[in-house]
Structures are given as structure tokens and as C-alpha cells.
Symmetry: C2
Subunit: 157 residues, 2 copies
DNA sequence: CAGTATCCCAAGCGATACTG
DNA sequence: CAGTATCGCTTGGGATACTG
């Protein structure tokens, strides 16, 4: 049968209790309709409240609440910034904890592109050094580990 | 700054519109409080309605609705099964589409373990053949791709 | 055991108006 | 521009009872 990764008989309970599960823990922060979309914006470098609203169509009250939650969870940080000839404004960007969520986001994107869409992705990942095309997958620990920071992300089309 | 994977200036909008984004598409099915936990159960081989309820504490009405949605999305399938001396029962298991979600689940778990917990994971991944420890990461396409099916998942105590 | 049915309440949604 | 405030509405959550 080999229907899943762990054994091949029917299990009556999960081998890892919810309280000790990293996924369950992560989902407490991430599992609602908007949060990963906000992460996606931040991942692409969109920092501003209004810009996020324009992109994803989230109601103000909800965006405000989510940004607060993500900031408290240290996934995002609130940052002052200034553009040419403009006054100082505030925006949000990924902390290092947030950046490491990029892999999860990419895994999700890959699944969506391959299983729900025609298989064509709207972005491509390449190794900055070698130019080799990259995917999210299982890797031997230590070997051939490519950090997200050495990937180039290019919109297709 | 190099704060995210794509360029280093402030973006006013995401380079990929929501409508063409695999992640956005995936989140339409997956982004609520319970769905990924149900996937997690199925991933571990828990098939039964009542067992899922016991593990994750989801209300009946919600579980029923989610199983329906996931079945319609062809992530789960409803399966008759029979245990020793018992009558035929029905349960749910991952389709191939569902199984390929395993990578996303593992990425999520890895993030939760490393960033939200003490860094200790409740499971370990090893290559069935070589025994090498595995992680979710970026891989050169083609090269060194290890399918989920050749990974052994062992609960760490 | 695998669901339906019901009911109540809290949270989230969506729109719009307002403020520093 | 980056939020708060408000409000009516819909959805989901949580509990419990019932059915084949």
C-alpha cells in the first residue's frame, strides 16, 4: 500500500502528539485565509500597508490585526524607511525567522503550480552562481544545501 | 539590504498577480485552521473520522465539511477498508495529489521546529537506501532529487 | 463508527468614514 | 499613507443530540 511516508497499516493516532508538532505550532500563527498571502507580499519585497491591501484585497481591520500578530511572532518587523524626497514612512519586512518561511511558501507555490494549475509556474528559481534551475525537495543534510539567499527568483512571462 | 529573494528595493506590488499564483491557488483549499492538520493525520496514515477527531479536536460539523472539500479537490479519497473480523468501514487517505503535499507539510514542520520550538524535531527523515539524514531544501533540478517515497520517517521520542 | 442536525456565540468579512 | 472606529452580515467554532 505504502500510502504515506510512515508504515503501511492503518494508524489509530498520529505518532507525534499535536503539542510536540512543529507543524501544529506553525499553523497556530499561519493558518488562516490571509497570513501566508501577507508573507508572500513581504517575500516579494512589498512592505506597505496600502500596497498589500491593493494586491490581496484584505479588509483593513484584518490586515491590521494580522500585521500585529506577525510582528509579535517576530516573523515581520516594522521598519521606518524613506524614499526620495518623501517623508519617513513605516512598512513591514521579513525578519530572519520570516525569511526562513520562504521555503515553505515556495513548497506551497510549487504544489499549487504543479497540482492545481497547468504545471506552469509564474516564477522560476535559479542558482545565482551556476544558473541551474532549482526546486524545493528533499536533500541529504549537509550535502548540496542551497540557501534561499543564493537563489534568484525571476517572474516568467 | 537583500531582504528577500527578489531584488533589493521596495516593491509597490507583487511581481506575480494573485490570479496566476500557485500559492494563492493552493491557499484557497488549504488556508484555514484545520485543513493542514487533517492532511497531517492522513500523511501519518490516520484514516478514520473519529481518530482524526480525537487527535486534533476538530468539531464534527467542521471535519465533515473539510473532508468533503478535500475529497472534491482530489487531495483525499474516501476508501472502504476492513480490519480483522470487523465490518467494512470507510476512511480517507491521500491521493497522489495529496501525497505530494507532504513536502509542504514537512517544510512547515521544519520551520515550526527550528523557529518556534527549541529546534528539536519530533520526527526524523532518513533516506531508506543510504540512511542519510534528509531535510527539505532547495535542490538542483534533476540532480539529487529524492522522492518523498524513498524517505523513512521515524518519530523521535 | 461515521456521519447529520441543531443551536448559540464568537470571529472574521466587507464597506465606509475618520484621524494624525 | 497608515492606520482606528464602527457596523451589519456571514461564516466558522464548539457543544450536544440523534441516526443508520
Amino acid at each position: 500500500m505504502s500510502n504515506s511516508g510512515i508504515g503501511n497499516s492503518i494508524r489509530r493516532n498520529a505518532p507525534v502528539p499535536m503539542a510536540q508538532c512543529g507543524a501544529a505550532c506553525a499553523l497556530e500563527i499561519l493558518s488562516d485565509r490571509w497570513t501566508m498571502l501577507i508573507i508572500r507580499e513581504a517575500f516579494y519585497g512589498v512592505m506597505r500597508y496600502e500596497d498589500m491591501r491593493d494586491d490581496i484585497g484584505i479588509p483593513r481591520s484584518v490586515l491590521t490585526q494580522r500585521l500585529k500578530r506577525l510582528t509579535e511572532a517576530e516573523v515581520l518587523e516594522r521598519m521606518p524607511y524613506r524614499e526620495e524626497g518623501e517623508r519617513t514612512r513605516y512598512g513591514y519586512r521579513l525578519t530572519s525567522r520570516g525569511q526562513s518561511l520562504g521555503l515553505t511558501l515556495l513548497a506551497l507555490m510549487q504544489w499549487g503550480d504543479e497540482e492545481l494549475r497547468d504545471g506552469s509556474s509564474a516564477i522560476a528559481l535559479h542558482d545565482k552562481e551556476t544558473g541551474a534551475r532549482l526546486r524545493v525537495g528533499l536533500v541529504r543534510e549537509g550535502t548540496s544545501e542551497i540557501p534561499l539567499s543564493s537563489a534568484r527568483i525571476t517572474p516568467q512571462n
